[in-house]
């Protein structure tokens, strides 16, 4: 059919599909799922760092962290808006999040236990997110690609701030250095797992790549992240908790060990240290705010009624 040919041609030409264009149902469903999960991750991702907002040990760090939380809420807004161009609405996606029918990135189901975690999340978690997201700036779906351009710009700013915090702590007291190393020990493996299962266990990758949603396999991105991060760790003076980590001359890359996929499976299944807590918080905010949203709607309706009189 003509619309299907147009779709294929746009994809092949590396151009953008726009909301009014025809698209295969499966393409739409894949995008809705992925963009929603991404939006949910921004919103849930406010919690682990938000945990340190009230306790940030300097006013400057408090301001930086608060600005970051604000950015993340903003990213959530762009991404929900991008998902809405595909014919779903934000309220529906929120319902799916708080009822556990849609996922968010499992990394946020780990606890933040010291202020150094804030830095390590900026460095490793935002770093891994950027590896995942930069290719999405060229994603075949226009609104998503454009949202990602904005998101990536801010994320890399956050990443630099996280690294800068860690540099400061590593130049600080013995206790501060210990905090950083401990945070790295806890976050390293979960960060590697952010790229998803090994390629052999990732059946949807091929289709997503054919649709130019995804550009690289999970293992390619993971390797890119490791190669980028190892020298940064050395510069920082921390040890990555992987005895198998060594430079491979032939591959011109770092070899690294296997993450504990069974722990990831537990977390994905809902048994992570913070799954219940994260969803509970989001649900409580949603439920506690219901009367406020209802009031806003009622007021808007009244105002509309008056202005049309």
């Amino acid at each position: 059919s003509a619309p299907a040919e147009h779709f294929d041609a746009v994809i092949a030409a590396e151009q953008r599909i726009e909301p009014r264009d025809w698209m295969p149902d499966a393409y739409r469903a894949t995008l809705v799922r992925q963009i929603a999960q991404h939006a949910h991750s921004e919103i849930i991702g406010m919690q682990p760092e938000g945990n340190w907002l009230s306790r940030a040990p300097s006013l400057r760090r408090k301001a930086i962290l608060l600005a970051k939380a604000q950015d993340e809420a903003g990213h959530g807004l762009y991404l929900y808006a991008a998902a809405e161009t595909l014919g779903v609405d934000r309220a529906e996606l929120t319902e799916k999040l708080i009822s556990g029918r849609q996922k968010y990135s499992s990394i946020f189901n780990y606890p933040t236990l010291t202020f150094a975690d804030v830095g390590v999340i900026g460095w490793l978690v935002d770093g891994a997110a950027i590896c995942n997201q930069v290719p999405l700036c060229r994603c075949s779906y226009g609104p998503y690609a454009r949202a990602m351009v904005r998101v990536c710009k801010e994320e890399s700013f956050h990443q630099r701030q996280g690294y800068e915090l860690l540099m400061t702590l590593m130049r600080g007291t013995e206790a501060q250095r210990r905090m950083v190393q401990d945070a790295v020990d806890r976050w390293w493996w979960p960060s590697l797992m952010m790229f998803g299962p090994p390629d052999g266990d990732s059946p949807n990758t091929a289709q997503s790549m054919a649709w130019r949603i995804k550009r690289h396999t999970n293992d390619e991105l993971r390797q890119r992240f490791v190669d980028m991060t190892v020298p940064q760790a050395e510069h920082l003076g921390v040890t990555l908790p992987d005895p198998a980590l060594r430079w491979n001359e032939q591959r011109d890359s770092w070899d690294f060990g296997e993450p504990d996929w069974s722990e990831l499976q537990q977390v994905i299944k809902g048994q992570g240290p913070c799954n219940a807590q994260r969803i509970d918080r989001r649900r409580a905010a949603h439920e506690d705010g219901a009367w406020v949203r209802e009031a806003a709607t009622a007021y808007a309706d009244k105002s509309k009624g008056q202005s049309s009189e």
Partner: protein, 251 residues
């Protein structure tokens, strides 16, 4: 001088403590747009607090930094009004407090921004910028006051309850500390204008201006004199705990 320093602490502490309360809304707001807005308000106030406390440490010659003031003073050394330290309550209470604070503080900043009566050039510049920021805070709070007051019957009841609960704390904003009298910036002069602005918003929200009397002081003392409510201690314990666990550390 010492008076200017103390005055900067009065204003800086108000901004710091209310910013800390706004931060608590983060990940708890009724809507994502409110997450963004409340964080933004918190950032503005935090920014004002940093400038004011930094100025306080310069003005008295002690060279204390913003962090010395925020993290290393005891509760009785904080000079904020009791209004800003009260727990957040529900969204209606938080909006009511924000409305009252932003209206009063903007009026004060506008007066301090008047260079004909300049106390201090740094303070003037904080006030000029702060008045612009607070105009947005005031608008935001007024818009929500009206939406909730003229929304559903339930929201009207909660917004009214928020105003009623905040009202006894209003008085302290207009009760001069001795340093304010010495510097010639008696906040009592702002009272009538602020109450008028508040009454207009409350009327638009189809609510009633509360008649509640001011909260009693303790032997004549209140927040400005370092006599706070039971809400401040736990707030400070949280604010200060990491910094105090690592004395002398740089972040």
């Amino acid at each position: 001088g010492a008076d200017l320093s103390l005055y900067c602490q009065l204003l800086g502490d108000d901004a710091l403590i209310l910013s800390q309360r706004l931060i608590e809304w983060c990940t708890r707001a009724p809507e994502l747009e409110e997450e963004v807005a409340l964080a933004n308000l918190g950032l503005d106030l935090l920014g004002q607090a940093r400038l004011l406390l930094t100025r306080a440490g310069q003005a008295d010659g002690t060279g204390r930094t913003e962090d010395d003031f925020a993290y290393w003073r005891a509760e009785h050394e904080f000079h904020n009004v009791r209004l800003v330290e009260a727990e957040n309550g529900d969204f209606g209470y938080s909006i009511a407090r924000l409305l009252v604070f932003a209206t009063a503080r903007r009026a004060l900043y506008l007066r301090l921004a008047d260079t004909r009566a300049e106390l201090d050039a740094v303070l003037t510049s904080v006030a000029v910028r702060g008045a612009k920021e607070l105009a947005y805070h005031q608008e935001y709070a007024a818009a929500w006051t009206v939406r909730l007051g003229d929304g559903t019957p339930y929201s009207a009841q909660r917004m009214q309850a928020g105003l009623d609960a905040v009202w006894p704390l209003l008085d302290e904003l207009f009760t001069a500390h001795e340093v304010e009298l010495r510097l010639g910036v008696d906040p009592a002069e702002l009272r009538a204008g602020v109450l008028e602005e508040l009454a207009a918003v409350i009327a638009e929200a189809t609510l009633v201006v509360p008649g509640a009397a001011p909260m009693a002081r303790v032997g004549g003392r209140a927040g400005r004199e370092g006599v706070h409510t039971e809400a401040l201690g736990p707030l400070l314990a949280e604010l200060q705990c990491v910094a105090r666990e690592h004395p002398g550390a740089t972040w």
